[in-house]
Subunit: 480 residues, 2 copies
């Protein structure tokens, strides 16, 4: 162990030395607004794939492939819209070494100054005093993706071989349901991905802001929309208010029957599918380093639904939740517009946990929404549909891969990581595990307050640089 | 009577002759996106005022004034935002003639191709085969405003004097609560508007699509917003779903308690303020030329709340209605975004009728919303406020001004107009009546299916040109 630690010092020093170049790489990647959910920005997502190909080529990766995934399935505005390609590449091909596949995504959530960002979201802002890098994708997931490239660059600069064969798989649709990725993994399991021993994904966050974690469980996410339509076009509420069935009135009624203000899901039958809490599992939550204060700080408010650590962790990790995200088609601007919207679409999603059956969940949601709408006796039309889904995942935190990551983390941060689960979903975790039959490790880089999917998304410089060291260290400990 | 009809023939022929110039005037006015509710477009609203000044000057109007109304009161994003000016001008100052004040507004509702317009809303499209002019403001209210200018141009071209002294009052905030206009009318009642005998407003529509109407009643409109806020910024629903009180969950609950799908307002105490329906009033609805089919055609759907003419007319004219217009701050785009919005604002309005007391209505709404939110026991913050209001109005359809308009309409269209009320609000109607102590007449130009406030707003060429004749004819019959 002592040997390992000393052996890694040159690598860590090189990473420190290359910090300016690594920050510049992140800056260049953030400058490309690769928003996968905005069809008009699809060319930028493709541009981001080309950016990666260029970086991989320069670093000496081999067998670089852009995997075409064909057209994006409905619902889409443009029926000919192509999915962004999946970027595959490998570094090293030594049969004596283990092979690690690292996954990341190069697409990002939407962002705009009008949402309340303090600075242009697609121009990285470096607060040198605070040591923080702001920008859309900084922590989710461009920071970690650049992290893997940085690890290779540091080895190259030292003239070192990598301790493992590295295979990278970077996708461009993670924020929009990872469309096409499942199929690709299935197709490549025995081809491009043949011989992979372990999969490492860096696409989540520490639980809090001070202690590193390794993650062995994720919630899934089923995303639904309820579309209610009536009039042929938007109407003036003065002329038609009171004489027409208003879609927005119906939608609000339906949405109000999904979840109560205390977080209780009102769709019957879901609770019954959730795995019962055992005394053993209950005890696990005692030791996690986390506090209600930390949650309130991340929230920026005192609006947590629970006042104790254990309830918070359980509701984040092992119970489902339902969020209403918004309404498409209604008036959404500032000021006052006296419109009766003709067609409105409510968006909501359910975070899933063991042992919820996704197909059964869909049926329960469809039945509940259909019944709720029917009770309204409305003359409008209603359609409820699943936009995308991804199952939950739970692994063994004591396997070989987690043990290597634990050693690397402790080496870099001088503290044993907490073993945590996550509320968010990375559906592909499960797919890799099933299709490749390998261990999957979640090794986060950013902190719990990074604001992924929110305004002013950030990554601390210390997390970025120590994160690179941890990723590199993991490859060495695992490669032994 | 026979004399009058013959006497007006040259005027009507001149209007026909000038049709191309009149259509071009409308085209030029539509090209200016004078959207009063969009602060960023305020310079365009001011540009539209300048356009009017130029036209009025060219036509020989005198005493042209741009009345400064100062800063726009909160809520505004820019606290220094200036209100657009009110344009005043007069044509003729003969003490032997009566004086008619004509009011119109030069601002418009928002519009964009992304709302579903078939053509660019701020470029007028002339469908010559169908005889239809498409564009934002074509019918509401740039068509009628240009109509008054056209009447003067036709008189000038004939070398005729106007039969009355004309005073014009054109405002730029009608679509945003007519801010500042009440005060201006009060200030100018004994100054610029001194000696006005009648006010004519052309800013509403026929009930249907074939028969002209004169309008003697309007509903008012109180526009409210409910703001619910919690977290300091938008959150990722994976990380925080289930552990934070979500503002959107609360908002949906509150909005669901405002109105039911059959149109019933759920705020207690409003019904009690509505004037009781007498058998005499009930009988009035028998003779109006209107059908359920006509409504369904205007709706573009079979989603009317009532299946008979009388109920429809009553709910449009003499009963209040509540419409939910949308939500500001939530996800409103296409696709799927897994956000927990931090601050959401629900927008709704109530159309008011005799004898609803506006101040009392506000108190009832505030109390109901406050109670609804309190019942949720939410940790979020809620604020409900009035954005703008305007009272209802009801006049005597047999006075001198209505009688002149009735004769002019019959002359142009060869049919006696229906006397109707309107569901929409033109709050200023009431202010003119009170402050000037004069009769106010509503003389509409467009049809019931023109799509004011909606996509593909239009004005039929026949309505535009015959509308000019009717406006001109009204001045002659009233001037006698």
């Amino acid at each position: 162990m002592l040997f390992d630690k000393l052996a890694l010092e040159p690598l860590f020093e090189k990473i420190d030395e290359l910090q300016p170049a690594f920050i510049d790489r992140l800056r260049r990647s953030i400058a490309i607004p690769s928003v996968s959910s905005d069809e008009s920005l699809r060319p930028k997502v493709v541009e981001m794939a080309a950016f990666l190909v260029n970086e991989l080529t320069t670093l000496g990766f081999a067998d670089i492939q852009l995997k075409d995934l064909g057209k994006q399935p409905p619902p889409v505005n443009n029926p000919d819209l192509l999915l962004p390609p999946i970027v595959l590449a490998r570094f090293g091909n030594d049969e004596k070494k283990k092979t690690v596949l690292v996954y990341g995504h190069y697409d990002v959530q939407p962002a705009g100054l009008e949402d309340g960002w303090a600075s242009e979201p697609f121009e990285m802002t470096h607060d040198e005093q605070a040591g923080i890098l702001y920008g859309r994708g900084s922590t989710d997931d461009k920071g970690p993706v650049m992290g893997w490239l940085n690890v290779v660059e540091a080895h190259n600069a030292l003239g070192w071989e990598l301790p493992v064969n590295l295979v990278v798989c970077f996708e461009g649709m993670e924020e929009s349901g990872s469309l096409g990725l499942d199929g690709l993994i299935a197709r490549e399991a025995k081809n491009y991905f043949k011989g992979v021993d372990a999969v490492c994904i860096s696409d989540n966050y520490w639980l809090g802001t001070t202690k590193p974690v390794l993650t062995y469980g994720l919630r899934g996410c089923n995303y639904y929309q309820v579309l209610i339509s009536g009039p042929g076009a938007d109407l003036h509420s003065g002329i038609f208010g009171g004489v027409v069935a208003e879609p927005m009135t119906d939608l609000v009624q339906v949405l109000s029957l999904l979840v109560s203000s205390d977080g209780t899901i009102l769709v019957p039958g879901i609770d019954e599918m959730v795995a019962k809490l055992t005394p053993e599992e209950d005890a696990l939550y005692d030791d996690i380093d986390f506090s209600v204060d930390e949650l309130q700080a991340a929230l920026g408010s005192k609006t947590a639904l629970y006042d104790n650590k254990k309830d918070i962790l359980k509701h984040r990790w092992r119970y489902p939740s339902l969020s209403i995200h918004g309404v498409e088609g209604a008036f959404s601007g500032a000021g006052a517009k006296t419109v009766i919207p003709a067609k409105v679409t409510g968006k909501f999603s359910i975070r899933t946990v063991p042992d919820i059956d996704l197909a059964k969940l869909d049926l329960l949601v469809f039945a509940h929404v259909t019944k709720a709408f029917k009770q309204l006796n409305s003359k409008n039309q209603m359609k409820v549909e699943l936009i995308h889904d991804g199952d939950y995942w739970k692994s063994d935190p004591f396997n070989e891969s987690f043990t290597a990551a634990s050693k690397a983390t402790e080496h870099v941060w001088n503290v044993k990581p907490d073993f945590t689960r996550e509320g968010g979903s990375i559906p592909i975790t499960l797919t890799f595990e099933k299709e490749l039959g390998t261990q999957v490790l979640l090794l986060p880089m950013g902190r719990g307050d990074d604001g992924a999917h929110s305004i002013n998304e950030k990554l601390n410089v210390s997390n970025y640089i120590n994160g690179c060291k941890t990723l590199g260290g993991y490859l060495h400990y695992y490669g032994q």
